[in-house]
């Protein structure tokens, strides 16, 4: 059992930090970037690709660099630290992750190569307008005519769905079950309406009307379990991203407390505020432990263990994200409400990650249903 990164991992962290920090360590740059479509820096995306960052999760044979969840987590932490709006989670982890999990070797090479190089953006169109975050699709349906497949129905919200060059779309199969399909951005019958998410990200409504689509992997196969597994993986990587954001939120808040004056003294003179900052730190440390642990569980590769770890991270992230997100704004006071200042965007982004991957109620229900089946929770 070892919670430390090795030298290579430290170097990766430094490299990513340097690269995204150059662009976003001045918060005004981040604000400007998310104000205009596509909501991120195409240039930085390319650079991340060239540097091999985007290909980290993918096998070398697929055009990636074949690293593991630990490395992917490090990247996510660094992106979260400066709220880099590049679609790493949406495009690489979620959409790319499903192509890697389900696609044929040819599809993997074809899609993941350019994706890893930062030449394309991929989006996962899975959630549907109905409530919930199930792994099944039901409102978008797939039809087959000979070798040709078409999809019809509506997906929303689809993260970065308007910008994406290709969409990975889940759909109800003719014989039941959920299949995954590749849809080109210029496919016929495809309509995409993009908009901003609360944290400055991008999402879209995606309408498909007999839109031509290519089955990912074996045509007609139910891949709901792969979708569930990749959603779990994404929860854990999102946990890493959130961890980076939480660290910055706590540091920004303590920085403000030591610099902002009221009643002639800096705010850290007020014990009630410093105690609350201490509680934020406690939340942060506990979250860090759970995120690192879950990332290691993910690296071990057992899907059932990963599912539980993902729910655990989801629950902790919800608790800590709200605690720290709310307190960070409150301890800033009025300035914390302004878009010009960074702290509110951290709160909004923590919220957005949770909205994507599940809130406390959802994860508590999952974990609660299982408590009777074992004695104590053991980390290993």
């Amino acid at each position: 059992m070892d919670f430390t990164y090795d030298d290579e991992q430290d170097a990766l962290r430094e490299a990513v930090r340097g690269m995204v920090g150059k662009v976003y360590s001045d918060y005004e740059n981040r604000r400007r970037t998310v104000a205009a479509d596509p909501g991120f820096s195409e240039e930085l995306w390319k650079q991340l690709g060239e540097m091999g960052i985007l290909g980290l999760p993918f096998a070398e044979s697929d055009g990636g660099s074949g690293a593991g969840p630990i490395e992917v987590g490090i990247v996510a932490q660094e992106l979260g630290r400066v709220l880099a709006p590049e679609p790493f989670l949406a495009s690489i982890v979620l959409a790319g992750g499903l192509v890697a999990a389900v696609g044929t070797p040819e599809q993997r090479a074809e899609v993941l190569g350019p994706l890893s190089a930062g030449e394309t953006v991929l989006a996962l169109a899975h959630y549907e307008p109905g409530p919930g975050r199930a792994a099944q699709a039901c409102e978008v349906t797939a039809s087959q005519a000979g070798e040709e497949w078409t999809l019809s129905g509506t997906k929303e919200p689809v993260l970065h769905g308007a910008r994406a060059d290709h969409l990975v779309v889940s759909a109800l199969l003719p014989d039941g079950g959920t299949g995954l399909f590749l849809v080109a951005g210029d496919a016929s019958g495809l309509t995409r309406t993009g908009y901003a998410t609360p944290d400055g990200g991008r999402a879209a409504r995606v309408d498909l009307a007999q839109t031509p689509a290519v089955p990912l992997g074996t045509p007609g196969q139910d891949v709901a379990s792969s979708i569930a597994t990749v959603l779990d993986l994404a929860r854990i990587i999102a946990g890493n991203e959130a961890l980076g954001a939480l660290e910055t939120a706590v540091r920004t808040t303590t920085g403000y407390l030591t610099s902002r004056k009221q009643f002639g003294v800096t705010l850290n003179t007020f014990q009630a505020l410093t105690f609350r900052a201490a509680d934020m730190y406690v939340s942060l440390e506990l979250t860090a432990s759970l995120v690192h642990w879950a990332t290691m569980v993910l690296a071990e590769g057992d899907a059932a263990d990963t599912a539980v770890a993902a729910s655990r991270v989801g629950l902790q992230l919800s608790r800590a994200g709200r605690h720290i997100g709310k307190e960070a704004i409150q301890l800033h006071g009025g300035i914390g409400m302004t878009a010009e200042y960074s702290i509110g965007a951290y709160t909004a982004h923590l919220q957005a990650l949770e909205q994507l991957l599940g809130d406390a109620t959802q994860h508590l229900a999952v974990l609660g249903a299982g408590v009777g089946s074992y004695g104590a929770v053991e980390p290993v």
Binding site: Y127, P129, P131, G132, R133, T154, E156, P157, L159, T193, Y195, A196, T197, P198, G201, A203, R205, K261, Q262, F263, G264, F270, A272, L273, R322, K326, I329, Q330, G333, G334, G336, M337, T338, A339, E340, G344, A345, T347, A348, Q351, A352, Q355, L356, D359, T361, L364, A365
Partner: protein
Amino acid sequence: MRLQLSEEDRAFREELRQFFTTKIPEEIRTTVIEGRELTRDQIVESMRILNAEGLAVPHWPVEWGGRDWTELQRHLWHEELQAAGVPVPLAFNASMIGPVIAHFASQEMKERFLPATANLDIWWSQGFSEPDAGSDLASLRTSAVRDGDHYVVNGQKTWTTLGQYGDWIFTLVRTDPEAKKQAGISMLLIDMTSPGLEVRPIQLIDGGHEVNEVWFTDVRVPVENLVGEPNTGWTMAKFLLGNERVGVAPVGATKRNLARAKELAGAQLENPLVAARFAELENELLALELTALRVVANSADGEPHPASSVLKLKGTELQQAVSELIMDLAGPAALSSGADASSALPEWTHLATPTYLNLRKASIYGGSNEIQRQIIAKTILGL
């Protein structure tokens, strides 16, 4: 002790409910109920309808449009307004500067301003906070220097809510730089079309523009626009902030939102964890409403009851908690904040996260909850 309202109060409430739900345009009330932003015109229209019926400023002196109601009746008025989705009369006019003018100003100033204030012919803005004077309001630096029959005002105010709509602004300015903090402050009314006055929008974290900075550069203000005596502004500010806290717990609106959340929840209500969350919030909200009723029953005329800090503290917490619940009910659809009517997701899900983020202000503005705790500890508990 008696639970039921008296016959008279019941009739009073029924009459208000009738008026509010039939005379205020439904479009305005739906906008409120569904949590969308009101236009300036909608706010003005609604307040004028109320004012025509004598329902805009009931807590003012009778000669200026007030009503000789009991505290309980005022409370019922406020609750029914909110329950019906009627926009509460603009606080800057009805609850802030109106009562200050009525209480402290000359007869001439009252005549000049009060009728227009009650009818929202003048839209008032508030110029109190400054970048370096937030919770520590008395450290404000905007100066008003006497020059003949004018004051020359220089400085910067901030957090001026809806300042983009303002006709006039009531400000706290430093008229005696020598006096110690509170002692050198005056209350000055300033026409916002004055040369040298500039309103700059501040974008908030929900993407909206409801607050502003107001900059004063050599703005000349006639001396007759000073309220009361020079250097007595702090007394008026305390009076005003006390009024601001009363009725600051938006119980009626929170109750309306919580009931609406059940409709939005649909099948999610069958989840025991979701149901328990509703039950918990309902219980706290009921306790808060009852506390508000106890407080109004015991309020001396005009003086804010110390327990009004309890109402502010808990009221804003619950307001925030209900917005959080609604956001959670929306699930991933809460990501759709930037979507327009072309979205396949219902409009309430677009509004859910921005509303949650926007309401973070509730525990900061108008005396932060830290200030309220301080008031409770010092004033009520003697700590």
